[in-house]
Symmetry: C2
Subunit: 380 residues, 2 copies
């Protein structure tokens, strides 16, 4: 795997170990206030599914995935009922082999979807063991020049009016952000344009501003909107239309000036391959929690590299920060509105538009049990 | 929806009703003997998830889905935990609306996969209510000229040698079958060719013979195999390579004479759209249990009709028999090796290569509780 080249001999030198045990936990974590986008409605909590793997070598790895509020029980079930019995005893040092076997064994109910979320949690736990075995944080395993990467605040803010948006932007700028992404997809394009204008006004001309329609537009509407906001210097337009309509993305790219981005809804590496081929994207936004973990993310990063595209991220910034710090073709880290990092011992540090990966050996995400345990609903 | 045109005014005249309650059951049904294919290994049981919906109109509909042994707990969970609370109270007469809302509400963990299986069970239950409300069996709701359709025996037989295969073919011909499909994907192409030859020998020259690699071949190997068996008059080559490699299908079609088929692993209508566009298929094989039920199946049937392709089926023959009897562009019904129909009050009737849809009002699948209940593992 290309981005592991610098450490490949050290990784290969790690001893094989059997996967000895696995514990799975399901949490519902309330949000401080409701968050709204154009396709998923109102979020009041997120689901967090944590997977703890212990190797015969005595090292414990922690992986996880999350959802906006639906499907988490099923993800928990796939991990506990279907994947756990299949991977116990397998060599946890050969992550690629475990990953491929999970994909293959459950292929009939898979090809993405809920299976990809489940595989992701296990894959991240195995990477945690790998990094701990190397006594290195993830960003150093990936040979990052530093632990810093450019970031932006990803708002889920479709319910907010212009004044509230401006307050939100100011609040995040005071916290160290310089770039933001806002939701669009209100009833009238004029409202969407006004909201963009309100944000640009307080953000200033030099800071990056992105928009995200959560596939609520038609192709025609996306083109109309895009042309209506071209003077606001939008860095990317995310998910204008359904992630299934690859060719519509290309048509929008052809008819407008704003670069296109997508990825949070593509849960198979092969889907990214096809999106690159048919959609004329500028930015890929995989999410480790649903693309098959760090293994899936790095496969997409390789595709992006080959195609000359920037790799960004969606969600779980507390983990992606280590990946984007390491990837030479990284775009910007999304600091997502689901504050998973607030339930870890190292909430994300942001300064002057940069985010900084933690120094803990492992993937860098260590849950704060005192904060998280009140939200535990199921475990096995 | 095109294939409903003849009954559309009767369907529209049905009164709206709220979905009042839903019960969900999970069964593990043992197979009489282990079944083997090239990608899913050995099957010893199948999972059956049954969904019983009662409308405020007092009509009960029964839907179901199945798997080859994995993911069933998660499907059960999506239905019981995520979909049930969302659809209770919705108008069950507007199936399209319920279907679209299930797809949209769980889109983030969806776009196919386990979600599609869950949606399928609910959709079939609503169709059962629709047909019962019309006092008609499904095949008559779809205006079928008769209840008969051509069928074939779909073997899961990769573990069998030539003599055993010949016995299997003879047994099924004695039961009324004239056409069969065999698995390929053994270690050497020569073995696969020998097995095809053994079957053709007992099947005779005039009966249809199909092969299915369960995506175990590479493109090159698929071409080599296809050219090696061209003298055996193969009606279609099913899933030579991964269902993600649409363009490889087209390359195989270009280089060989045997028509291509796939569908059991495509769980979104949009995937069929793309497969039609890029794969040069001759036969589409959706499965009501994982393409979003009868609603999803009929959407794929419309795509096939527009593209001039034949529509076949995968699995759950006890239900598909009613659909293929009705569709003017139907190919052949797969009589699948998972004998779900043996757990209903109307096991499939086969005579002279034809299968016959049952006359019960509804979708025609009425489970035999005495046979099924010993295999119940969970219910809610």
């Amino acid at each position: 795997m290309k981005f592991l080249d610098a450490r490949s001999s050290e990784i290969e030198a790690l001893e094989a170990f059997g996967i000895k045990s696995m514990a799975v936990e399901y949490y519902q974590v309330p949000l401080a206030e409701p968050l709204v986008d154009a396709s998923h409605g109102t979020h009041t909590f997120f689901e967090l599914i944590v997977c703890r793997i212990t190797g015969e070598n005595g090292v414990e790895g922690v992986g996880y995935t999350y959802t906006g509020g639906s499907g988490g029980h099923a993800i928990y079930s796939v991990i506990a009922d279907d994947l756990k019995p299949r991977i116990l005893g397998k060599n946890g040092a050969d992550i690629e082999d475990v990953w491929q076997s999970m994909q293959k064994d459950l292929h009939y109910v898979g090809r993405g979807g809920i299976l990809s979320f489940a595989i992701s949690a296990i894959d991240i736990a195995l990477w945690d063991i790998r990094c701990k075995s190397l006594n290195l944080p993830l960003w150093q395993v990936l040979n990052a020049p530093s632990n810093a990467t450019a970031c932006y605040a990803g708002f889920i803010d479709l319910h907010l009016g212009g004044d509230e948006l401006q307050q939100l932007v100011k609040k995040h700028m005071a916290m160290g952000q310089t770039a933001v992404k806002t939701k669009v997809g209100r009833e009238n394009i004029a409202e969407d344009v006004e909201r963009v204008a309100a944000i640009r006004e307080v953000l200033g001309d030099d800071n990056a501003l992105m928009v995200d329609a959560n596939w609520s537009y038609t192709k025609e509407r996306a083109i109309e909107f895009s042309n209506s906001v071209s003077k606001y210097n939008i860095s990317w337009f995310e998910e204008p239309v359904s992630p299934d309509e690859f060719e519509d993305y290309a048509a929008i790219a052809e008819a407008t000036d704003i670069p296109l981005a997508m990825g949070e809804n593509l849960h198979l590496v092969e889907e990214f391959e096809r999106a690159i081929k048919y959609s004329d994207l500028a930015y890929l936004q995989p999410d480790c929690s649903n693309i098959g973990g760090i293994t899936g993310f790095l496969k997409v990063a390789e595709l992006a590299d080959k195609a000359g595209l920037k790799i960004c991220s969606h969600g779980m910034h507390e983990l992606h920060v280590s990946l984007l710090a390491a990837l030479p073709h990284s775009g910007m880290l999304e600091v997502h509105s689901f504050p998973i990092d607030q339930y870890t011992i190292s909430p994300l540090k942001i300064r002057d538009g940069q985010a900084f990966a933690p120094d803990h050996n492992g993937v860098g995400v260590i849950f704060d049990e005192a904060k998280l345990s009140p939200h535990l609903k199921m475990q096995s």
